[in-house]
């Protein structure tokens, strides 16, 4: 609270000074004791209200990204001051009371929103460069579980969801709800028997199908094995629709499921192989090999339609920005640090979006800060942590999530070491170290 009052005074001192000046002026200029008393009282109320207003603003400024649950308190304070002002400034009473009431309603709704469980949608799934082809079936199945549920061992957690988004509609265990799409328990068994032998499936005779799509691609044909059925279902959901699960009004002729290799899900063939392997392994079945699974998909997804593992990547796992062979000033420039930070000794590093990097001076203080939750014990450790994991500690008043979290992957170990060495030796008021 002390901090907030301090900040409030920092923000609002001109207004407060003006009000105090008015108070003094009234004492000197008003002769009528009744009028003087009234003016003094109103100005005093005005000062209290102004202090409350600036505390409310300081609270907003301070906690906007961090403790946002505290923000409705600001609105309650403004409500009180509006009603308070309404009592003493009768000519604006209606306006102030209405305003106060609106602030109260907004505070209540804001408070309600903050009281509910806080769910935050994470960043879009990042594509890791994994070599699926050399994995064991269990490793492949683990990766598949990650794609479906977001993590290993998450398959029984309600609401767990991964890049594939499958649990949004499908259930995977006995007794679990699966009203929107079939429960996938026992699919490897069912696929090769019930499904492809179903007369509606028209095995080998795609032209006779009565579904929205006859074939996954011209000349692709139909599945002949369980694995091919799974591959076809993923790549062409409307080639065959399980009764009761079609889009409403289409008489089960069209499936609501998106093509899994197309946006928004865009799983690559190796990722699909991982997903399918999990479907087998989790039931204790022997899964087809990686090559067999990818081949089954190649049957239904033409080359041009296959998403690449590196496609549409949000600047995460591309080539290195710097490999460490460059001088440190070039590393800072290549990694774009100079756009956001001021770094003494580095030409062009005059950014103000992030804090000034005088880490020789700042790092020891920050490690001791009560809000520091990281693990660094020394200046170099702190710098490394800040580069690789910028949200561990965010320097006030800079917002979180502005600095990209990709430098751990985009800079080589050598480049990182050069950055750490240089910044460790930058002190406030001292000559910056030499560029090496």
């Amino acid at each position: 609270m002390g901090d907030l009052i301090g900040q409030a005074l920092d923000i609002g001192w001109p207004a407060l000074a003006l009000l105090v000046g008015l108070l003094v002026y009234f004492q000197v200029s008003i002769k009528d004791p009744v009028a003087k008393k009234r003016a003094t009282f109103k100005t005093f109320i005005g000062i209290i209200a102004a202090v409350m207003l600036f505390i409310a603003i300081a609270n907003y400024k301070e906690n906007f990204y961090g403790e946002n649950r505290l923000l409705p308190v600001s609105l309650v304070m403004i409500t009180s001051l509006a009603f308070m002002m309404g009592i003493y400034f009768t000519n604006l009473a209606a306006l102030l009371k209405i305003g106060g009431f609106m602030f109260f309603v907004a505070a209540a709704l804001s408070g309600y929103g903050n009281w509910l469980p806080q769910v935050e949608g994470g960043f879009p799934p990042k594509e890791e460069k994994l070599d699926f082809s050399s994995m064991t079936p269990q490793q492949l199945a683990d990766e598949g579980e990650k794609i479906i549920f977001g993590g290993i061992g998450q398959n029984k957690v309600q609401g767990a969801i991964g890049k594939g988004q499958c649990p949004l509609c499908h259930a995977f265990h006995a007794g679990m709800l699966g009203e929107r799409a079939p429960n996938l328990l026992g699919l490897p068994e069912r696929a090769g028997k019930e499904r492809i032998e179903d007369p509606k499936y028209h095995k080998g005779e795609p032209a006779k199908r009565e579904y929205a799509d006859k074939e996954a691609c011209p000349g692709c044909g139909t599945a002949t094995t369980a694995q091919e059925y799974i591959a076809e279902s993923h790549s062409c959901p409307s080639c065959y629709v399980v009764s009761g699960y079609g889009v409403k009004g289409t008489n089960d002729k069209e499936s609501p499921m998106p093509k899994i290799h197309k946006p928004p899900i865009s799983l690559s063939l190796p990722e699909l192989a991982a997903v399918d392997t999990w479907l087998y392994v989790r039931e204790g079945r022997e899964a087809p090999s990686f090559e067999e699974i990818t081949k089954s998909y190649e049957k239904f997804i033409p080359e041009a339609d296959r998403p690449k593992m590196t496609e549409d990547k949000p600047a995460v796992a591309g080539a290195l920005l710097a490999d460490g062979s460059e001088p440190v000033d070039q590393i800072f420039a290549k990694a774009q640090c100079v756009s956001c930070h001021t770094i003494p000794g580095i030409p062009g590093a005059t950014g103000t979006i992030g804090p000034k990097l005088v880490e020789g001076t700042n790092a020891p203080t920050r490690i001791k800060d009560k809000d520091y939750k990281g693990t660094a014990k020394s200046t170099p450790e702190y710098i490394m942590e800040s580069v690789v994991s910028p949200s561990t500690y965010v320097v006030k008043p800079f917002p979180d999530n502005t600095m990209p979290k990709v430098f751990g992957q985009k800079l080589s170990a050598g480049a990182l070491k050069k950055i750490v060495d240089y910044l460790s030796n930058v002190y406030e008021g001292k000559e910056p170290p030499k560029i090496s």
Partner: protein, 638 residues
């Protein structure tokens, strides 16, 4: 040529000018569909088939010639996402929301003016006609002050887009280039029409000229509605793109780009929402003027104005949930996972807030009506039943806001012992929730019926039978809605969904049949006493302000939900958001941001109201000037 004839000629010329303004963008736009129309496309294909590249429309699945560049693949950096020392998304959110609030308001109010002016023209009671005309003029005066602010905010919004999201805005404008030009022309047409309509008010107030003036309001509203539809096409495209191939390349058919899967439901939902919102803002304005009034005459005028605005707002609020239902159905039909993210996934808690807001809106409306009964003699007979209505509303509300399944962490799941709460989980199924909201709406209809007959006694020979029939109708409506809500527990979920149809049909039957029957029964009814406008409690005015604030908040909430359902896509499945803010905020952060937007809007518009009150006032027509026994009659009521 006499002065009257000259006036007529000028008026007709002004009307023709407006029609030309309306047609101008349409004429300009005629060649644009031809860019992608079949004939030229086919010709081009014949001439040089080998050279043209074809693409398949992601939504319509039709083939077209590629005429645009692919959607840019952005990277996080100053080129695609230049920024200040602040989250760009929040800045854009703010600029967008403020423009939308003001835009909705200035589009909704002229529709009210049209309705009220029309009522004034057709009303036979001259004093009342004058009052309606004055009211319509007051409405448009408020709207005019906000109009210039809307334009300024639109400019700020475009600059925000251009400076913070240049790659995204560049792509969107490359697709919508012709639409944006038409939009700009429509805006010019809207401005011209609005000013002629406003400044011509006094010059065209009687006879044939009045009809010309009224026709102008029709044209003004057609232009305004078309403007909104065009703007909706952009957000429709962002949510459910069409007219482009998988890479986002424009295929030449601008109609496909406009007419996306969600465009029509968005149009209907937004027009109803704007009307309800506009009603709320004008009601709040009237409440402010009522509370600030120094004379009984002013109080009477603003009390009446508040009532009319509230009644119009609520008239559009009632069908709003049904339009919302259609929109959600179309969302599910377009992408099931999008629907699930909204209603059962990441954004589900926001729908719990929405349910709460809907409850608040209806509770405030009912409270206002009960308070309003206090200004008419004879309405005391209903007062003792209000406690039962409160009980019914509270029960309906509690059922309506009870969640069924929730998104939970493993720890929460373990603590709760399952995906549903051991007690509440039994109650929150959809048919029960539908039952809850339908009970609330039916009770609001009942409150309106009581209000409309508050100070009247029907003199018809069959009045007793009519009253019994109405009572029985309402009783069985409640029984049917509640019975279906309970029956839903005994049938599978996919069948249960269908119960909403008979539940909604029951509510709508109450709305239309009971209002119609009541109006027939109250025609020529004996009055127990006049409506004493201005003699309403101060609390009632706070109910109006509550209604307005809650509606503004809900609009902000639903806009946020609609926008954030795209998750990390600028244009769903076509152009990915690679900025550092491509994640969805927490419910709390969103609630704070919505509150900030709501309060900024209200503080700014209260300032506009205050400025307006400083201007020279037109003295409202005295409430006492109405014919004896013909107290000002609210729209469509007694």
């Amino acid at each position: 040529m006499g002065p009257v004839t000259r006036k007529k000629v000028f008026s007709i010329m002004a009307l023709c000018a407006m029609i030309s303004l309306l047609l101008l963008p349409i004429i300009v736009s005629i060649p644009s569909p031809a860019i992608g129309a079949d004939a030229p496309a086919a010709d081009a294909a014949k001439k040089d088939e080998a050279k043209v590249e074809k693409g398949r429309d992601v939504y319509y699945k039709t083939e077209g010639i590629v005429v645009g560049a692919p959607a840019p693949k952005t990277t996080d950096g100053p080129k695609d996402y230049p920024r200040y020392n602040f989250e760009s998304r929040v800045l854009l959110w703010f600029a967008n929301q403020q423009h939308l609030y003001y835009g909705s308001f200035v589009l909704a109010v002229p529709i009210f003016c049209m309705i009220i002016e029309f009522m004034g023209v057709v009303t036979k009671d001259k004093a009342l006609a004058k009052k309606y005309d004055q009211l319509a003029y007051d409405f448009i005066k408020i709207s005019l002050t906000a109009y210039s602010l809307t334009a300024i905010l639109g400019g700020i919004l475009i600059f925000t887009f251009l400076t913070l999201y240049p790659a995204f805005f560049g792509y969107l404008s490359s697709i919508f280039r012709p639409v944006m030009h038409i939009y700009a022309l429509m805006f010019v047409a809207e401005s011209g029409t609005l000013y002629i309509y406003y400044y011509g008010w006094d010059k065209m107030k009687e006879g044939f000229l009045k009809w010309i003036h009224l026709s102008m309001s029709v044209i003004l509203n057609i232009i305004g509605t078309l403007l909104m539809f065009l703007a909706n096409s952009w957000i429709g495209f962002m949510m459910s793109p069409a007219g482009v191939d998988e890479q986002g390349r424009f295929l030449g058919n601008i109609w496909h780009v406009i007419h996306t899967a969600l465009w029509n439901p968005l149009n209907v939902h937004r027009i109803l929402g704007n009307m309800a919102f506009g009603g709320g803002v004008v009601a709040a304005y009237a409440a402010y003027r009522f509370l600030a009034s120094k004379t009984d005459e002013d109080r009477a005028h603003y009390d009446w104005m508040g009532y009319i605005a509230m009644a119009l707002g609520v008239a559009f609020l009632i069908p709003l949930p049904f339009a919302g239902y259609w929109l959600m159905r179309e969302v599910y039909a377009y992408r099931q996972q999008m629907g699930i993210t909204l209603m059962g996934g990441l954004l589900a808690w926001l729908f719990i807030i929405q349910a709460t807001m809907i409850g608040i809106l209806f509770l405030s409306t009912n409270y206002y009506l009960w308070q309003a009964m206090g200004r008419m003699r004879g309405a005391e007979k209903y007062q003792r039943y209000i406690k039962y209505l409160v009980f019914i509303l509270c029960c309906g509300y509690l059922v309506f806001i009870t969640p069924h399944t929730m998104v939970m962490t493993p720890a929460e799941l373990k603590a709760m012992g399952g995906q549903q709460h051991p007690v509440l989980g039994n109650y929150g199924v959809m048919s029960a929730k539908n039952g809850g909201i339908n009970v609330i709406i039916t009770t609001t209809v009942l409150s309106f019926v009581w209000y409309m007959r508050g100070n009247k006694v029907s003199t018809l020979s069959w009045a007793k039978f009519g009253n019994i029939f109405m009572g029985v109708f309402f009783f069985f409506a409640y029984v049917n809605i509640i019975w279906l809500a309970i029956y839903g527990y005994y049938i599978p979920a996919n069948v249960r969904v269908g119960l909403s149809v008979p539940q909604v049909a029951t509510t709508l039957s109450c709305l239309f049949f009971m209002f119609a029957l009541n109006s027939v029964m109250m025609k020529g009814a004996k009055q127990m006493g006049p409506i004493e406008w201005g003699k309403i409690s101060v609390r009632s005015q706070y109910a109006l302000i509550m209604l307005a604030t809650a509606f503004t908040w809900m609009m902000g909430l639903m806009g946020y939900i609609r926008s954030s359902v795209r998750l990390f896509w600028h244009v769903n499945e076509i152009m990915r958001d690679n900025s550092p803010w491509a994640y969805t905020h927490t419910v709390g952060f969103a609630a704070n941001m919505i509150s900030f937007n709501v309060l900024f809007f209200w503080v700014s518009i209260l300032f506009v109201f205050w400025l307006g009150s400083l201007a020279a006032k037109k003295v409202p027509v005295s409430a006492t000037a109405t014919a004896p026994g013909g107290a000002p009659q609210p729209a469509g009521s007694h």
